[in-house]
């Protein structure tokens, strides 16, 4: 009985993989539903049919057959959009698995970010931001969406506050009792040491 269950599990994903392509390979959904617009104009010929969110969105470009020369980056924060469809040569993101360099043609990846430095390379210029945490979604068509809760250029950080914070959290870790306090102190140490190495390194 268990063998049959595992056989079913093994067969199912293969069929699913064949039937469901990645989102960048699907044709773009039509922005206006034809049956709806017809029904609307029959009943209310004087008013334009309402626009749906899909008509405001630009469909994502499909995966080109040859590797594009530039990476298109969308770097957004909750309160602002730092870079919107900017074409760059490379970005280096601080993923939890280490500093990850993203070039055009990178394999589609979802990576969680740890507190660290994000650098955007365009020609000979490089802009660095310190990112608190977030995610990066790299799509097969060389689009990268970087979302962060807080990202600041390095020159807005104060070295003294960083070192004071590091000392404070190191002492908090030694005096912490519950698991939660220890976790918070450890987070403080991680963030402050990342800030420190970003400012001094």
């Amino acid at each position: 009985m268990l063998r049959r269950a595992s056989m079913l599990l093994a067969c199912r994903p293969i069929l699913a993989a064949r039937a469901r392509p990645f989102s960048t390979d699907l044709p773009a959904a039509p922005s206006a539903d034809a049956t709806f617009t017809e029904a609307w104009t029959k009943v209310i010929p004087n008013m334009d049919p309402p626009k749906t969110p899909l008509s405001f969105m630009q469909p994502r470009p499909p995966t080109p057959s040859s590797i594009p020369s530039k990476l298109t980056v969308n770097f957004v924060l909750p309160y602002a959009s730092e870079l919107a469809t900017k074409e760059v040569d490379m970005v280096i993101v601080p993923a939890t698995t280490g500093q990850m360099g993203v070039l055009p043609g990178h394999v589609a990846t979802i990576a969680e970010l740890k507190p660290g430095v994000l650098s955007v390379h365009e020609g000979s210029e490089m802009t660095k931001y310190f990112v608190s945490s977030g995610f990066v979604f790299i799509h097969a068509n060389s689009f990268a969406d970087i979302i962060a809760v807080e990202a600041v250029p390095l020159d807005r950080l104060d070295v003294n506050l960083v070192q004071k914070g590091l000392a404070e959290f190191t002492s908090k870790l030694s005096s912490a009792t519950t698991d939660l306090e220890k976790a918070e102190a450890q987070i403080g140490i991680d963030v402050h040491s990342a800030l420190n190495s970003a400012l001094t390194g």
Binding site: V149, D158, L195
Partner: protein, 70 residues
């Protein structure tokens, strides 16, 4: 299938990702230089009113102004 291999230390201590992410963001904001620091902290302030409901009726609402540390 791997069953929850190595969980991050904050998850093991019972913290959710959102809490972790907000703590990291607050720590970074507290290390900013002066005009940016007050801008960031004022941007993240919330001001809201809560009212508990009993027997289908709202009680007197309380106003709360929480700063990002909480």
């Amino acid at each position: 299938m791997a069953s929850n291999a190595a969980v991050p230390f904050w998850r093991a201590a019972g913290m959710t990702y959102i809490t972790y992410s907000n703590i990291c963001a607050n720590l970074v904001r507290n290390c900013l230089k002066e005009p940016y620091k007050t801008d960031a902290l004022s941007r993240e302030k919330v001001h809201f009113s809560i009212s508990k409901w009993t027997d289908g009726k709202p009680e007197k609402p309380t106003l709360r102004t929480d700063s990002p540390e909480e």
